[in-house]
């Protein structure tokens, strides 16, 4: 398996130094963890199971990619595991350059896998049937957006602030449901939606919906759309939540969202005013979103909507066509498009 993908691998992505040291031929402890994760999630999923080998190759390749740690814009997702030259686990540090001085991050990417990590790679298996086409897209998208979904830090738009955004949105659009969960059931909406946010809805929404959502994440250049959609779903099901009397019933309300259409829901949630008062967006009160609540919600999502204005010609349609591989094998174009914000309008 390792030999397979090192053969197909674009050496531009792996640093030459590493190839020379033969790191690629080594087994890492995390390899088995990742393989087990793929076997538990991807290989059992009714939509992703044919791709289990490709998904395994994608996550293993990512774990060996030394540049991932630097490429992640919000920094390393967590404190990396470091082994010193002697192979023992050294003092932990969150700065990757200190790692380079003395020891070796394990795995080389600095990202320690967790349960469900392989979910991130699953939707990419639909977009390309070969590793060399799928991997650059996966890596870029991971470093730019997906890593934020499991990064715990004070960088903007990482997991903590995404969860906070979710909670604020739920409180402003479905306050009664939130209170019901809090006081009657001693729970909170975040407890149920956390899984959706961390996985980016992989495994909860159908593959097509996930891809469309991630399309918009790319277009708006903001991963905040994930908790926004989560809040929209909670608001959509607020009546059912209010009717629930026991924790099992709430679990049922959140367990199956496979019939949710992500984009229409997001649109009506975000743009209800632009769509007109008769757009079917109603709070649980049965009245159209009141001006005060609307203003509050608008304030929360305004920074994201502003980003929309700067996209320019790189509209969503073009980006999703890119994912479909229409046009030349465009790893260069992907890298250009995924450059930091400032260059976007070039």
């Amino acid at each position: 398996m390792i030999a397979d993908y090192t053969h197909h691998y674009s050496l531009r992505v792996l640093s030459a130094e590493e190839a020379a040291r033969g790191i690629c031929e080594w087994e890492w402890l995390t390899d088995d963890v990742l393989r087990l994760d793929v076997a538990e999630h991807c290989a059992n999923d009714v939509s992703y199971f044919p791709f289990d080998e490709l998904v395994e190759a994608l996550v293993l390749a990512l774990s060996r990619d030394c540049e991932v740690g630097q490429l992640c814009e919000s920094g390393l997702p967590q404190v990396p595991l470091v082994a010193d030259a002697a192979g023992a686990l050294a003092v932990q540090t969150s700065e990757l350059r200190e790692v380079r001085a003395g020891g070796q991050a394990m795995p080389p990417s600095g990202v320690v896998p967790f349960k469900g990590f392989s979910n991130y790679a699953c939707p990419f298996a639909f977009l390309a049937d070969r590793l060399e086409t799928a991997y650059p897209i996966f890596r870029s998208f991971y470093c730019r957006h997906l890593c934020r979904l499991h990064t715990i830090s004070d960088h903007p738009e990482t997991l903590l602030s995404l969860c906070a955004l979710f909670e604020q949105l739920v409180v402003s659009t479905a306050p009664r449901a939130a209170q019901h969960l809090q006081f009657v059931l001693d729970s909170s909406p975040l407890r149920y939606a956390f899984h959706w946010i961390v996985t980016g809805f992989v495994g909860s929404l159908p593959a097509e919906e996930v891809l469309q959502l991630w399309d918009r994440v790319l277009g708006f250049d903001s991963v905040a759309l994930v908790p926004i959609l989560a809040a929209a779903i909670v608001a959509l099901r607020s009546k059912l939540i209010l009717a629930a009397r026991r924790p099992e019933e709430v679990q049922l309300v959140f367990s199956d969202i496979s019939c949710v259409k992500a984009i229409p829901l997001l649109q009506s949630f975000l743009f209800a005013h632009e769509l007109g008062a008769d757009a079917n967006w109603r709070t649980e009160h049965g009245s159209v979103l009141s001006a005060a609540l609307a203003a509050k919600k608008a304030a929360l999502v305004a920074p994201i909507l502003e980003a929309k204005a700067s996209i320019g010609e790189h509209d969503v349609g073009a980006l999703s066509r890119l994912f479909r591989g229409e046009g030349p094998a465009s790893t260069d174009t992907v890298e250009i498009l995924l450059q930091p914000q400032g260059d976007c309008n070039a």
Partner: protein, 452 residues
């Protein structure tokens, strides 16, 4: 669907959960004799039912059965191949003839328009209506053994590197199938112990087999071979009315595909039958190797573009309709009958669909949770449509509530209020329309695409 206070009686030869639970949910009563309104029969019992010598068993008005009397013209592998071959030859001959007529008319019309222009009149319309083109070959070359043995050997020698697949005509679930890449491998069939009759005496004939060209370059997903199971409901052959189920699925092999000669006998690589794959070591009970066709279409659209996936969906519908048209003339169009077929289709690397076989009794056994839900809904929709069609309640119906997950892909019934426009060729009434009400909104398998 049920009239007020109506008591519907059903009879079934299968005690499958998906059938019984549908019957009971509808509040129908069970019977075991001739007193029934609807009979979900086995093919064996249907033979007796339509036996002309047993008059007492003739069906009354209003009784409905789930098989046509001579469905085997379509569902036996050798007869299907033969009927389709004959149909294609006939249509090709017809097409050539019509092409010649068209050229003649064109030369006429160019003369006529020249004459008209001379007189200052507008050009007359003498164009021919387009005849449905028969799709390129969709059944791999098939020969019967032992009857066509000599012809087969000739064909085999002409293509030395080809692989062939031998299947017994009368068996199901992948039993007795093997691959042949060298002539001496056929000894497996010719040397097989002979079948025995009921008295235990060996029959003079070997078990009948067919041998077809093996499609060795199938489309692979994740490196694995798969085929598709499509459910097709036919409520009448003349006029032909066909419904296709949106919930078809792909059946995956557990092992990675390989054309390696060493793997030629590895049934887990080559044969997609669930009955076979279930025995593989890595068989997974969560998904059972079954993949939704909508996921396949998403994959094809993502990797090859929307045009390719739409073309594939349209090609699949084409071969289904043309296969049914091939036997349209010979199936006994008994008004009591409808039939739900299981079409097995394989796609090759060039996205070309191939029909492997048609099953008269597609399996009602369920292997996973999703599978059970799918088949429950399938039977529900089949019963709905079949009963209402037989009562003539579905004229020009496109309503999803009634059709459920089925879509009508072909309807030959002429519309009552459609008069021919002046100047239109009267033969256009015979031309097939592909929907019961104007152009169909959406192709049965194509997805709505990215929202823009």
């Amino acid at each position: 669907m049920r009239r007020e206070n109506e008591r519907i009686v059903y009879r079934t030869d299968f005690d499958k959960y998906v059938l019984i639970s549908n019957f009971e949910r509808l509040g129908w009563t069970r019977s075991t004799d001739e007193d029934f309104d609807i009979y979900w029969a086995s093919v064996h019992n249907v033979r007796g039912l339509f036996n002309p010598e047993v008059l007492s068993k003739r069906l009354r008005d209003g009784q409905v059965v789930n098989h046509f009397p001579n469905h085997y013209e379509l569902t036996r592998k050798d007869l299907m191949a033969r009927n389709i071959k004959r149909y294609r030859r006939e249509r090709e001959r017809q097409a050539l003839q019509e092409q010649a007529e068209e050229r003649f008319l064109e030369s006429l019309s160019s003369f006529a328009s020249f004459a008209a222009r001379k007189k200052g009149q507008s050009e007359p319309n003498l164009s021919m209506p387009q005849v449905d083109r028969v799709p390129p070959e969709w059944v791999p070359a098939t020969y019967s053994l032992p009857n066509d043995y000599a012809i087969f050997v000739e064909e085999f020698r002409k293509s030395p590197n080809s692989t062939w697949i031998a299947k017994p005509t009368g068996k199901a679930q992948g039993r007795g199938i093997f691959l042949v890449s060298k002539l001496n491998q056929l000894k497996r069939w010719s040397n097989a112990p002979k079948e025995k009759n009921q008295q235990g005496q060996p029959l003079p004939f070997r078990e009948p087999y067919i041998i077809s060209r093996y499609i060795s370059n199938p489309l692979l997903v994740g490196g694995k071979k798969f085929d598709m199971r499509l459910y097709v409901l036919v409520t009448s052959y003349r006029p032909l009315k066909v419904f296709l189920y949106r919930g078809g699925f792909c059946r995956f092999c557990v092992e990675q595909y390989s054309t390696d000669v060493a793997e030629i006998d590895n049934i887990f690589v080559h044969l997609t039958n669930v009955a076979i794959q279930k025995q593989a070591e890595d068989y997974n009970e969560q998904h059972g190797g079954k993949w939704a066709i909508s996921d396949l279409m998403l994959f094809i659209e993502s990797t090859r573009g929307r045009a390719a996936s739409e073309k594939l969906a349209s090609d699949m519908e084409q071969i289904i309709v043309h296969t049914l048209k091939a036997v349209q003339g010979i199936i006994v169009n008994d008004k009591h009958c409808f039939e739900m077929y299981g079409f097995d289709v394989l796609i090759d690397k060039d996205l070309r669909p191939w029909l492997l076989e048609v099953n008269a009794s597609p399996s009602m056994t369920t292997t996973t949770e999703d599978d059970r839900l799918l088949k429950l809904r399938l039977i529900n929709d089949v019963l709905n449509i079949a009963i209402q069609e037989k009562r003539g309640q579905l004229e020009g119906c496109d309503d999803d509530l009634i059709l459920g997950d089925f879509a009508c892909i072909f309807d030959e019934k002429p519309k009552v209020n459609l008069g021919t426009r002046s100047g239109e060729d009267p033969r256009s009434e015979r031309n097939e329309r592909s929907s019961s009400r104007g152009p169909r909104r959406s192709n049965s398998f194509s997805r709505t695409g990215y929202w823009r």
